[in-house]
């Protein structure tokens, strides 16, 4: 076991109102999610001394602390994109294990759907002029994120013969899970033919290969092993974590078929002393169908290049051999921009057996993997219950 294994646990999780929340700011949603997570844990705000948040505004964690009325002893604003909250878990366990804080709040919310309708959408297409992508990619009509993920999908198809039908299997499996989740946005049946008939976005990715755009937020509370044993819910132990990033711009990605999940996953498995065959449940970042396929390979659930065959026959769906993304994921439940916090929330609930119709049986271990940027960053968190 690694130095950080079972040093801390997730003891509370909560979500804000989800979907479309035009009457609320992201700060209101963060407060809502935080309250629900504290209630889940049986803790109060005054117990929080570590604050971890990620958002697109300058010094966001400082803004969040002011809004919530928290003066943390440890503060972390790591923004690695959708993987940020998996990074935060590792940072929180590290801080807790050396006594820099005792109880950490990881929190986040965004309102891209409402912002779009209000004409206040944050543009993914324009950054600061000094950013290399602005100079060497944007003049060619590049925009983030669909074309960048499409470039990776196209390369994977070329190298390994992966097909659009195989990618569609991932979207269909997500929809089947969403149909079992009352909180999911898209619950109507979806077939492989539906996915293949949906509008082309950026070849080879079609609309149903792409995640939703939603409002919402989440909160996760992490505390010491000692404290975790005496709270409201059973501890969800943090067994292993790892983080990595390999590039920023898609032109700089060393190999378009290999994500940094290869490296974050290796670290997390080594720390946990576990192998992919020990994992009961997968919660993988599904910004796009191809994102899931690449993670399955890079995390070692199938050999490189065999992701397409691996997902055939609805292997990831309810009743499949490898249940994954049980909320319906970013593809069918919701996607607020940085989905990684919802991976942790769903995994914790599954490990505690709280998931009703979509509950996977006999779940003792779960792996969450967040991916951020242009397949740029990856954070892996392996969780378990006694």
């Amino acid at each position: 076991m690694g130095a950080l294994t079972r040093k801390a646990a997730i003891v509370g999780v909560g979500e804000s109102d989800l979907g479309y929340t035009p009457d609320k700011t992201f700060l209101q949603l963060i407060a809502q999610a935080t309250n629900r997570a504290l209630d889940d844990a049986g803790l109060t705000k005054s117990d929080i001394d570590g604050l971890f948040s990620a958002g697109w505004l300058t010094m966001e964690s400082i803004m969040v602390a002011e809004y919530l009325g928290i003066q943390p002893t440890y503060s972390d604003n790591t923004l690695s994109g959708g993987s940020a909250f998996e990074f935060h878990v590792e940072h929180a366990v590290a801080a807790i294990s050396v006594g820099l804080c005792e109880t950490a709040l990881i929190c986040y919310a965004e309102t891209p759907l409402s912002d779009r309708k209000r004409g206040m959408a944050r543009s993914f297409a324009t950054g600061a002029p000094q950013e290399p992508e602005e100079q060497f990619e944007i003049p060619y009509g590049q925009w983030v994120p669909i074309p960048t993920y499409a470039l990776a999908a196209q390369r994977h198809m070329y190298q390994y013969g992966t097909t659009s039908t195989q990618l569609a299997e991932i979207a269909v499996a997500a929809r089947k899970w969403a149909s079992l989740n009352p909180a999911a946005t898209m619950r109507d049946p979806l077939t492989i033919d539906d996915v293949l008939a949906s509008p082309m976005m950026s070849t080879p990715l079609r609309l149903r290969d792409c995640c939703l755009v939603s409002d919402g937020g989440g909160a996760v509370i992490v505390t010491t092993a000692e404290r975790a044993k005496n709270l409201r819910k059973k501890p969800v132990w943090i067994l292993g974590c790892g983080e990595s990033h390999t590039h920023r711009s898609i032109s700089g990605m060393p190999d378009l078929t290999v994500t940094p999940a290869k490296f974050s996953g290796e670290r997390a498995f080594r720390m946990a002393g576990l192998a992919p065959s020990d994992i009961d449940l997968l919660e993988l970042y599904d910004s796009f169908t191809i994102t899931v396929l690449l993670q399955l390979e890079d995390l070692g659930f199938c050999p490189k290049g065999e992701g397409g065959r691996f997902v055939e026959g609805q292997r990831l769906a309810p009743g499949g051999q490898r249940p994954a993304n049980t909320s319906g994921g970013g593809l069918s439940c919701l996607h607020t921009g940085m989905f990684g916090i919802f991976l942790l929330i769903e995994a914790a609930r599954q490990l505690r057996g709280e998931c009703g119709d979509r509950q996977v049986q006999k779940v003792k271990t779960a792996l969450c993997n967040g991916i951020g940027g242009n397949l740029a960053s990856s954070g892996t968190v392996i969780l378990g219950v006694d």
Binding site: S123, A125, Q130, E134, Q135, I138, Y140, G141, L151, M200
Partner: protein, 143 residues
């Protein structure tokens, strides 16, 4: 071309000025490290492989192959009239990859591994964008 060019233009600064001046002179300049011999792209004043600051500009061959591509059916801002348009990652003979666009080729004919060569699109009096076309096609006036 008398119409005003409205698409995004690069912000050119001291570190990359030579690259863009090269493009304007219809040369593709690439950074090469004198210490470890490796090329890199986008151009920096240091070598991201060995961290040497002894990096020179070399004139690239302008030839390469398509490493990956996508046909965008949803546009970037100001590319609305171009849809569907292609974005490619070109692997240059020098071993580095850059983003660009393939011209003088139907989107349907694009494929990974296709040999391409640089052409220069003088989009404004100040800025030239290196683009690529399939090797072996006769030069054609840009329309």
């Amino acid at each position: 071309m008398t119409t005003e060019y409205k698409k995004p233009l690069p912000y050119i600064h001291s570190e990359t000025k030579a690259y863009w001046e090269g493009a304007k002179a219809h040369e593709l300049l690439i950074r090469k490290c004198r210490t470890c011999g490796r090329h890199h792209f986008y151009p920096r004043d240091l070598c991201p492989s060995c961290f040497s600051s002894d990096v020179e500009w070399i004139k690239g061959s302008g030839r390469g192959t398509i490493y990956s591509f996508t046909i965008c059916h949803r546009p970037a801002p100001s590319f609305e009239k171009e849809v569907p348009y292609n974005i490619v990652l070109v692997e240059l003979e020098e071993g580095v990859r850059m983003m660009s666009t393939v011209v003088e080729c139907s989107n349907d004919d694009l494929e990974i591994g296709m040999a391409v060569e640089v052409v220069y699109d003088d989009v404004t009096p100040e800025v030239t964008l290196p683009k690529f076309r399939p090797v072996g096609r006769p030069a054609r006036d840009r329309t």
